[in-house]
């Protein structure tokens, strides 16, 4: 480029820059014929000046500076192209930092020098028009993925919903009741699950995982592994006789592997994960099935009225083409064993396990019992921030929902055991959602839930009791509570396998494995790859309303893409 112009922005958001020194340093760079500074380049008058200068000085290349190239590049590109240049003839340099004037000036010079270098390397691009395949892939069948699928399908587009477990529903369907309105997911989520299952535009691929992804926005090719269920789902009618006949029991994923007296929380080796499953189809657990472990059994095969059992089934693969992808892979709880101060004991459980104990449709039919002996716990301690907000033992971030679900637990426990006592250890109570603070007040005032402000140092078994040591920082005293059951509000982590999925999708994750949104405030639904959107807890801990909102938001982003027929892809021309 022969005639390059440099435009220096230095509004009050950028540390003071010695513009004279900057101009001096870049003035003699090859090709630079024009330089100007302006206080607020990003505003209309500033942009007008850039446009005029390009025309008046007959510039064939420009370097612009900005506090946030990611946000301003698009705006600048419009101005530059309206002045007759092409996109490749512009580079935006970043000016940012908390340095003093001297460092800021030096950094500005370096940023502009490297932008000039990039501009020199810049080649004309060729744009190709790719027709958009108007079919969407949603990965993860929790509430966020369900919402996204329904919204896209209702708009008239085809949706493939991939879910790694045998049924959609996600974490939400495991919950007992949901805060702050205490409606049960079996009542409020099941309709959405059924709609998803019956929607003509939605195809659910349950018990399946994304194996590989290639392509770009508008046309992704996705390979999906359909795990062997050892049941022909097309023949099966979901009657459930197989799981009645099966003689082998195993700990159930859906019950968070709770081991309750009498094995009441166990499932069979062939099982439908829960009563409201969508699709209502069983899978065989190879690790426990006697046919696979001992080589003989076949009780389910004999019982099946339609001959759907197929022990010879293998994993199969399907390849699909989609125009855009929504990732909604959800969360897992940090394992309890990560907190070494808390012993491993059947009566020290995490929040999801307690949800199963409270759930009216759960293994105990909502009767609260201790896993060790089946007795009703008369004193229960709930511990907030186990692993969250604790960089030393876990993660520094707040998991956002624990304050609310622990108080919900305490309240539901008090309803189930009115003569029991619930204690909640907390650091701060974070109740920012609608109706949340009122919910806490209700638990404290009406249900006499006892809040203790302080952290817990040790949880251990002492004979029949679980002892909890902590401090009450409001009285400055040490506290020891001998309780029957301790419930830990463990930190939320990205779900298992989401890191590997992010690699397959080439999207960025943060240091904890949560998928990174394109901009923390202004692009919360887009991943770092065009055409791939994020919904729910795969992007960070959130509650149900937020997950549903993000699911809907991601769907509408995808639909605005589908409202066009083709997408323009720019590539550097091969010279």
């Amino acid at each position: 480029m022969e005639r390059i112009g440099v435009f220096l922005c230095h509004c009050k958001l950028i540390p003071p820059i010695d513009t004279g020194r900057v101009f001096e340093a870049i003035g003699n760079k090859p090709g630079v014929v024009y330089a100007a500074d302006y206080e607020e380049m990003c505003m209309a008058p500033g942009l007008e000046r850039v446009k005029e200068a390009i025309k008046d000085e007959k510039l064939d290349g420009v370097v612009l500076t900005s506090c946030s190239p990611a946000l301003y590049e698009e705006t600048f590109r419009h101005i530059v192209t309206s002045a007759g240049l092409e996109g490749y003839q512009m580079v935006v340099a970043e000016l940012k930092g908390q340095d003093g004037a001297k460092e800021a000036t030096q950094r500005a010079i370096e940023a502009i020098e490297s932008a000039l270098e990039r501009l020199r390397m810049s080649r004309p691009t060729v744009s190709s028009r790719v027709p958009i395949t108007k079919r969407a892939l949603v990965i993860g069948g929790g509430i966020a993925g369900i919402q996204a699928s329904l919204d896209i399908a209702d708009a008239g587009y085809e949706v493939i919903l991939v879910e790694k477990t045998p049924s959609i529903g996600g974490r939400m369907i495991q919950l007992s009741e949901t805060f702050p309105t205490l409606d049960c997911p079996q009542c409020i989520e099941t309709p959405k699950m059924t709609d998803t299952g019956q929607h003509p535009n939605i195809k659910i691929l349950a018990y399946s995982e994304v194996e590989g992804v290639s392509g770009n926005i508008g046309k992704f090719k996705v390979k999906i592994r359909r795990k062997a269920a050892y049941v022909d789902w097309d023949k099966c009618n979901g009657c459930g006789i197989c799981q009645e006949r099966c003689a082998t029991k195993a700990l159930a994923e859906f019950q968070q592997y709770l081991d309750l007296p009498g094995k009441i929380a166990h499932r069979k080796a062939i099982y439908i994960p829960f009563a409201q499953a969508v699709p209502m189809r069983p899978v065989i657990d190879r690790e426990h099935c006697r046919y696979f472990t001992k080589g003989k059994c076949g009780l389910c095969e004999m019982a099946c009225p339609v001959g759907a059992i197929d022990f010879s089934q293998q994993d199969s693969f399907v390849e699909i083409e989609v125009g855009a992808i929504i990732v909604a892979t959800g969360f897992d709880l940090m394992p309890k064993s990560e907190i070494a101060e808390f012993e491993e004991d059947p009566d020290i459980i995490d929040g999801l396990e307690f949800e199963r104990l409270l759930c009216p449709a759960g293994p105990t039919a909502g009767k609260v019992i201790r896993p060790s002996d089946g007795r009703e716990p008369k004193e229960v301690v709930f511990i907030s921030c186990c692993g969250s907000r604790d960089p030393e033992h876990g993660v520094p971030y707040c998991s956002r929902v624990c304050c609310m679900y622990l108080v919900k637990h305490a309240l539901l426990y008090k309803h189930a055991v009115p003569d029991g006592q619930a204690y909640i250890f907390y650091m701060d109570i974070r109740t920012t959602g609608k109706g949340y603070e009122e919910f806490i007040q209700r638990a404290v005032e009406e249900d006499k839930v006892l809040y203790l402000r302080g952290r817990v140092s040790k949880v251990f078994r002492d004979g029949d009791k679980i002892k909890v040591w902590g401090s009450d920082t409001l009285t400055g005293k040490r506290v020891e509570i001998a309780c029957d059951l301790a419930v830990l509000g463990m930190a939320m982590l990205p779900s298992e396998g989401s890191k590997e999925l992010a690699v397959k999708l080439s999207i960025a994750t943060d240091e904890y494995g949560f998928m990174t949104e394109l901009h923390p405030k202004l692009c919360p639904l887009e991943s770092t790859v065009p055409g791939i959107y994020l919904a729910g807890c795969c992007q960070g801990p959130k509650d149900i309303p937020d997950a549903v909102a993000q699911g809907g938001g991601a769907a509408s982003k995808l639909l605005s893409l589908f409202s066009q027929d083709e997408v323009i892809l720019e590539e550097a021309a091969v010279s």
Binding site: A340, E341, E343, R461, D462, G463, K467
Partner: protein
């Protein structure tokens, strides 16, 4: 294998049973503990004072002794000495300013810049000898002896000097298991024994000791194993008083892990110096067939 060995004051006086059983056991395992020349007190307690340089002279001098014998590692047996030496060493390594002050102050000594590694005997057993080779050398497995490992504070805190997981250590469990004992893990294994509060607040120490011992007993322990002479003093010496204040408490022998090591390696029980233990462990060991009557 020769290892430089820092005994510390207590091992030469009240805890002779710890030193003798340790040195003899290590010799049987092929490790020769070579006592440092001209060692002095370790400084006993790591100082929390901000102006602490003077307090660091004692531990650093000992580390200089190690450097002088051209050794890059020193092993301690007393947990307190371990803690003080290790932390002083960390300070010297991480704080160039204080290192400079100390070196300048001790102008008669050679300069010390953190060249020596401080290890505890348990680490040597785990990392250099290995549990498997120990269990192969066991002559008299401690079969049927229910021992609770007790760590106290100084082997594990602060985290920077911990010889194992701070909250859930297993190093002594693994050793006792290698010796054939029935290991009893109990929740108070890492709680404080009360330490030097025994001087100013003896009732508080009684409270701590009772919590620890009653918990060990509830979990089925017949004896407690430890490595710290301070803990040994509190856990052992306080039992006389606890027998009077807690009806039904009959006492529980406290042993150094090295005494159990020596016994199981088939060494002459004389090296264990059981007569120095505050609660005589011999009746228990005899009842398990681990000592000739």
């Amino acid at each position: 294998m020769n290892l430089s060995y820092y005994p510390g004051c207590t091992l030469k006086t009240k805890a002779k049973n710890l030193e003798d059983s340790a040195v003899a056991s290590m010799a049987a395992l092929g490790v020769n503990l070579v006592e440092l020349p001209r060692w002095n007190c370790c400084g006993t307690v790591y100082s929390f004072a901000e102006d602490e340089e003077l307090h660091q002279l004692a531990p650093v001098r000992n580390l200089i002794r190690v450097k002088e014998v051209e050794s890059n590692k020193v092993v301690t047996i007393c947990s307190f000495c371990y803690n003080t030496l290790k932390r002083a060493n960390l300070l010297i390594t991480n704080d160039p300013e204080k290192r400079n002050t100390l070196n300048t102050f001790m102008e008669e000594e050679i300069d010390y810049n953190g060249e020596v590694e401080v290890v505890h005997l348990l680490e040597v057993l785990r990392d250099e000898v290995g549990w498997q080779s120990i269990s192969q050398k066991v002559q008299l497995p401690l079969k049927g002896l229910k021992v609770a490992p007790y760590y106290g504070c100084t082997l594990l805190r602060p985290q920077a000097v911990a010889i194992d997981n701070v909250e859930r250590p297993t190093i002594m469990h693994d050793l006792l298991q290698a010796l054939g004992a029935e290991v009893v893990d109990f929740p108070f294994a890492t709680e404080c024994c009360g330490s030097y509060q025994i001087l100013s607040n003896p009732d508080f120490v009684s409270h701590c000791v009772w919590d620890i011992l009653s918990s060990a007993l509830r979990w089925g322990a017949e004896a407690v194993a430890l490595s710290c002479p301070m803990c040994d003093f509190n856990l052992g010496q306080k039992q006389k008083e606890l027998r009077q204040t807690h009806s039904g408490f009959k006492g529980i022998p406290i042993l150094y892990f090295t005494q159990l090591l020596a016994l199981s390696l088939g060494l002459d029980p004389e090296v264990c110096r059981f007569e120095l233990n505050y609660v005589d462990p011999r009746p228990l060991l005899e009842s398990k067939g681990l000592l000739r009557q």
